[in-house]
Amino acid sequence: MRANAVSAVIFSNSNDIALKELTENRSMSSLPFGGRYRLIDFALSNLSNAGISDIGIITKENYRSLMDHVGSGLYWDLDRKRGGLRIIPPFITGESQLNGFADISKRAAEFVSRLNSEYVIVCESGTVANFDIGAFIAYHIEKDADITLFYRKAECADKFKNTIKFDIKNGKIVGAVKANRSSESGNYSLGTAIFKKSVFLNFAEFSKSKKSEDAFLTLISENKNNYRIYGFEHKGFAAVIDSRKSFFESNMKLFSEDVRKDLFNKERPVFTKTRDDMPTRYGIFSDVKESLVADGCIIEGTVKNSVLFRGVRVHKGAKVENSILMQGVEVGENAVVRYVVADKNSVITANTPIKGTKHKAFIVKKNQVL
């Protein structure tokens, strides 16, 4: 296949509303995840690892942090002379704002129609997975499909809020419904699809007339007989971030070495913006168990079952358990932090106890001092 035969668009605001405390000042795509990443790193790395460099990011609102993070695309090797990464901000046209795939497709269509690609990949940004995009494209071409979608078989233990569930027969998607907090096992969408370019442009046209958030869902249900729509199973780890709970639990799943081996696959690394921090310094009284720790932290207290992003400081006598501390968070002496998600640069002052519960983590907002 020639270079630039496949282009991609990423929707940066998927499910923003589901995590409003954490997406107040940022888009879903720039939500921190896994100690040093932002959600968009997974989509960008997956695409980049498959040699795709013509990528448009469709933004809606609050995209300053996203732009800050992706910059020119350098860290994903996407700062290219030919193609490369482009951010596509909203047009102010007076039209009412569209949501979901309708919005993607409208602006994406303008972006894609100018490119020479034959195929278009569409990614939502709430998915955490290491996709083999190369195999996905090959399958799509082999089946001569119009649309192919990534899905996973999930057990009933998972509950999905907004995810789409597919009905699949002989590899073909013959039906789709909104899972709507379903707890049944089944084939669940991973928010990633590949289209023939002409089909994508038709779909964009089709979406314009649909006011629904789920133009995509409508597309499948209304056109399953007109288009060849296939499913491609992702067998490795995948998480869809669509609620506070799934955000918290998906971070904690990274304690499993098998999950990390799959997600941070050595052949297909996950890239992110670097910060040039020193390695993490463990002090004389540090006591750390079962935790993921990024660079640049200074730990002098106790940390258990927690994810520490870059530059976190845990002072003497502090206790951090079952928590996610984002970049630059400071936990003062003898503070106690349990079931907490502390957003960037927040401070939990000395001797302060902050506790959430297993079912509902307490969220400390960005820059907040408690």
């Binding site: 100690g35 070495e257 997600l263 020193m278 390695p279 993490t280 463990y282 993921l292 720790v293 990024a294």
Partner: protein
């Protein structure tokens, strides 16, 4: 090409033979340091932080890994359309070519590179030291004093002065004599191997030096003495912060563990003077339930299930349950398996220490000369239950149960 005020020339061709097996496959400036750095990150980061954006790197010995590491210079913000980082290996011209005969000859062969930028000053650096220094202050002093050459110096204890190149100075800090490793030092101002030259003077003396058949083409031995003999104004620039030569196994180990010493202020992520490095894309490190980590530096990609004290773990290191690492440096990709013990050692890249093996020993205080840091060379395996004693330099695989 726009003119540059100052061009840096970084001498990175040294073999670093005193580091033994650690420089078996790479040049000394490419030796890993501090968990995620390499020695060359220090002069390069100092350059960019000092506002010097044009750097020539003179390579010669085992340049592959170093070239790869430098790449376009992006991690140090040195990928520039005008200036930037340039690797300068020895080359062939119409009249033939040669290896770099000495430090001065290496710069001489690349006068053409410097001339493209028509700089007022040239700063000559080496890739063997750990330090954070604002070169712009030194260049300012050089400019204001109207010197031909300024040499940065550190005060060292008199009893160690005979290990260094010593600058003998007048009360106004001008240099009247340079002595290489003097038996009876007259001063304790040791040269740090950092020179600022006015480019016109540098060029003049390099050409003269090249024409002098008796010269060994070395800055310290030939060029500086020639300038002094001709009555040029040479001054010292006094530096008082942290500076360490990492030319030997012991000093490399020391300089690493200095990062754990609360009395030494060597903050490499200080936003005002960051040290940059090329990093791979790795997830945060994982400390498991059975781990015990104290007083150590651990970087991304590591998996730690054992006991770590007073040590530095580089990228992608794996310490299994029941293993112990104390007072050691474990370099990228190394694995220490169950029950193995590593003490007072440097474990090079991609080494495997098999189950229940042991490397290194605690210092023998009554017999200090026999003791030293143990070193295991890149990619080697220390077999199950094998024992490697203090001060050993391991260059081949050690078999199961073997005692060395």
């Amino acid at each position: 090409m726009t003119n540059k005020k100052c061009v840096a020339m970084l001498l990175a061709g040294g073999q670093g033979s005193r580091l033994g097996v650690l420089t078996g496959k790479l040049a000394k400036p490419a030796v890993p340091y501090g968990g995620k750095y390499r020695i060359i990150d220090f002069p390069l980061s100092n350059c960019i932080n000092s506002g010097i954006d044009t750097v020539g790197i003179l390579t010669q010995y085992k340049p592959l890994e170093l070239n790869d590491y430098i790449g376009s210079g992006k991690p140090w913000d040195l990928d520039r359309s005008n200036g930037g980082v340039h690797i300068l290996p020895p080359y062939q011209g119409q009249k033939g070519g040669d290896w770099y005969k000495g430090t001065a000859n290496a710069i001489y062969q690349n006068l053409g590179f410097i001339e493209r930028y028509n700089p007022k000053f040239v700063i000559v650096l080496s890739g063997d030291h750990i330090y954070k220094m604002d070169y712009s202050k030194m260049i300012n002093q050089h400019q204001n004093s109207g010197s031909a050459c300024t040499i940065s110096v550190m005060q060292v204890p008199y009893d160690e002065a005979s290990r260094f190149g010593i600058m003998n100075t007048n009360p106004d800090d001008t240099i009247y004599e340079f002595e290489e490793k003097p038996k009876e030092p007259k001063s304790n101002l040791a040269s740090m191997g950092i020179y600022v030259f006015s480019f016109d003077k540098l060029k003049k003396y390099l050409i003269e030096d090249e024409n002098n058949k008796n010269s060994s083409n070395d800055f310290g031995k030939d060029v500086i003495p020639a300038m002094l003999n001709n009555g040029e104004k040479l001054m010292v620039y006094r530096f008082t912060d942290y500076w360490k030569d990492v030319g030997t196994v012991d000093s490399l180990w020391d300089a690493n563990l200095d990062l754990l010493n609360p009395k030494i202020h060597l903050n490499l992520s200080d936003p005002n003077w960051k040290i940059y490095s090329r990093t791979s894309a790795l997830p945060p490190h994982h400390i498991t339930d059975s781990a015990k980590v104290e007083n150590s530096l651990i970087t991304e990609g590591c998996f730690v299930s054992g006991k770590i004290d007073y040590s530095i773990l580089y990228e992608n290191v794996r310490i299994e349950e029941g293993a112990t690492v104390e007072y050691s440096l474990v370099m990228p990709g190394a694995v220490v398996k169950k029950g193995a013990v590593v003490k007072y050692s440097i474990i090079a890249e991609n080494v495997t220490v098999e189950e229940n093996a042991s490397v290194g020993e605690e210092p023998y205080y009554n017999n200090a000369d026999e003791w030293g840091i143990a070193v295991v060379g890149e990619g080697l395996t220390i077999g199950k239950g094998a024992k490697v004693g203090a001060k050993q330099m391991i260059t081949e695989n050690v078999k199961e149960g073997e005692i060395i």
